[in-house]
């Protein structure tokens, strides 16, 4: 445990001092301020628009951090043999990967919470000072917090995918490309299957549908973690759904982490 903490510690320090993270957070701050200027242009449901835009900046920044920072921190370790500095100590490769994952996870958490706080603060300022802006209907802090945590959980799943691909390919750019592709597929596959199954004007072969369903088993379903609609419309969240989705997310991360460890343990570092 001590070595995992040590590796996580240096990863957080390295991540927090990275210019990419600082740049992404600055862009997120500017986006939040920009939203304040465009929200009054909407005629109604400004509260929903504010929630949508706030979550969008969180998603965008989180995705950028996982892709540009998370992958870079691991792939450069392997490509440039920086990992040798760590595993030349009495540290197992398992502890290295877990420590690295925990370090990036904490960095992403800090970033997500910072952006969430920025969104809340700018929205509060907007509600107080801009007449056209109204708070979302039946707003609940609990639902907001759960939505943010789910957003974070989906980013952790993406990070697990990114770590697996980085260990498998060792190429930073290939890993980035594949991770973004999987993120897009994971966000749209559920809708695609629903349309293929239930769409009145859509006719697809059973083979194609089976293929889509098979991919859905492999690729994480990121859309299941998108709870912003509950915040935006003031709906109550079905807690059984929250529980089972969380179990799905955590299980997916654990399973993929085990496969990543298996791959990394067999990797030759030269």
């Amino acid at each position: 445990m001590k070595t995992i903490g040590l590796i996580a510690g240096i990863t957080i320090k390295e991540g927090m001092r990275n210019r990419a993270l600082q740049g992404i957070l600055t862009i997120a701050l500017l986006l939040c301020l920009f939203y304040l200027t465009i929200i009054p242009l909407f005629a109604f449901d400004t509260g929903k628009v504010a929630v949508d835009l706030g979550f969008s900046s969180m998603t965008l920044a989180g995705l950028a951090i996982v892709v540009f920072l998370g992958i870079a921190l691991l792939s450069r370790d392997i490509q440039q043999s920086t990992v040798c500095m760590i595993i030349s100590r009495p540290i197992s490769r398992t502890n290295y990967v877990i420590g690295k994952f925990c370090g990036v996870a904490v960095t992403v958490l800090i970033a997500v919470l910072s952006i969430a706080l920025l969104s809340v603060v700018t929205s509060s300022i907007g509600i107080h000072f801009i007449v056209e802006m109204t708070p979302p209907r039946n707003f609940s802090w609990t639902v907001l917090l759960v939505s943010i945590l789910f957003q974070y959980l989906s980013l952790l799943m993406l990070m697990a995918v990114a770590f697996f691909l980085t260990c498998l390919t060792t190429s930073e750019y290939l890993s980035m490309l594949l991770t973004v592709c999987i993120y897009i597929i994971g966000n749209s596959l559920e809708t695609l299957i629903a349309v293929a199954q239930e769409g009145d004007l859509v006719q697809v072969s059973n083979l194609y549908l089976t293929l889509l369903k098979t991919i859905a088993w492999l690729v994480p379903n990121f859309s299941a973690f998108d709870l912003k609609i509950y915040v935006a419309y003031g709906l109550s969240v079905p807690w059984s759904y929250v529980g089972w989705t969380a179990v799905y997310g955590i299980s997916y991360i654990a399973l993929l982490a085990m496969i990543t460890l298996w791959v990394f343990k067999r990797k030759e570092i030269t």
Binding site: G9, I10, K13, E14, M85, I87, S88, I91, S92, I269
Partner: protein, 249 residues
């Protein structure tokens, strides 16, 4: 007494495209406690491959590697090892103090012990002034020195140094030579690879020479030189063979 480094018929091959290239051919050697062992060979001879196998970064195809009697697969085998890779790379945003704190604590030292050890070590390596600067701002020579500091912070019994002189200016080389001789006097076991043959004569008890993955020689320096005039001519002779050597010399 267990030999700190022990290799028995170690073979290793890599895939180069579709064909396999053998990097090590049944290499056997052992380094005794308190010994300074110089490992020489031309570029691409297999020096770093062998060191990577000792450190457990790569797995030999066949043969056995033991560090302090343990397989490199076991992290515990590296507790008493200090390692300096060739052209060391670090986390560039960390300071020397943070890096050494990590290195010491990861090797089982308490934070207090590490803190007490950092300043004297950096002073010895003449980089104390840069203690709180990010490593990314260091010159190549300074990075080499911080790499050595990282290898020494936990006072290991055995040091494995891959081309420790590379990137150092003559002053740095002289400093490193002094440090190695001090460590030798303290009874530390040192295994290092180098191209610079002059260093070998002054520092090593025994040497090993590798060429194209074959260990051509392992023993004393006197035995290596044999009838040749000096270390370099013997090195060239072994590397190129008798006929080609005559053409060059």
């Amino acid at each position: 007494m267990i030999n700190p480094i022990f290799l028995e018929k170690v073979e290793k091959s890599f895939l180069a495209g579709v064909r396999k290239v053998k990097a090590l051919h049944a290499v056997s050697l052992s380094v005794k406690p308190g010994e300074v062992f110089g490992f020489i060979g031309p570029n691409g001879a297999g020096k770093s491959t062998l060191i990577n196998a000792i450190m457990g970064f790569i797995r030999p195809d066949t043969g056995e590697v033991l560090i302090h009697g343990l397989s490199p697969k076991m992290p515990e085998s590296r507790r008493k090892i200090g390692y300096l890779p060739e052209g060391p790379r670090f986390y560039e945003k960390l300071t020397a103090a943070e890096l050494l704190t990590f290195g010491g604590c990861a090797s089982g030292m308490s934070k207090k012990q590490v803190m007490e050890g950092i300043d004297p070590l950096l002073e010895k390596l003449e980089i104390l002034h840069a203690k709180n600067r990010p490593i990314g701002t260091y010159s190549k020579g300074m990075k080499q020195r911080i790499g050595l500091a990282l290898a020494l912070i936990h006072d290991p019994d055995t040091l494995i140094l891959d081309e420790p002189m590379s990137g150092l200016d003559p002053i740095g080389r002289n400093l490193l030579k002094t440090i190695i001789l001090d460590l030798k006097a303290d009874g530390k076991t040192i295994f290092f690879s180098t191209h610079i043959l002059n260093d070998i004569e002054t520092m090593c008890d025994r040497i090993g020479m590798i060429h194209k993955g074959d260990l051509l020689y392992c023993g004393s320096i006197d035995g290596f030189v044999e009838n040749a005039s000096d270390l370099e001519s013997r090195f060239v002779k072994l590397t190129l063979g008798e006929q080609n050597t005559k053409k060059i010399l």
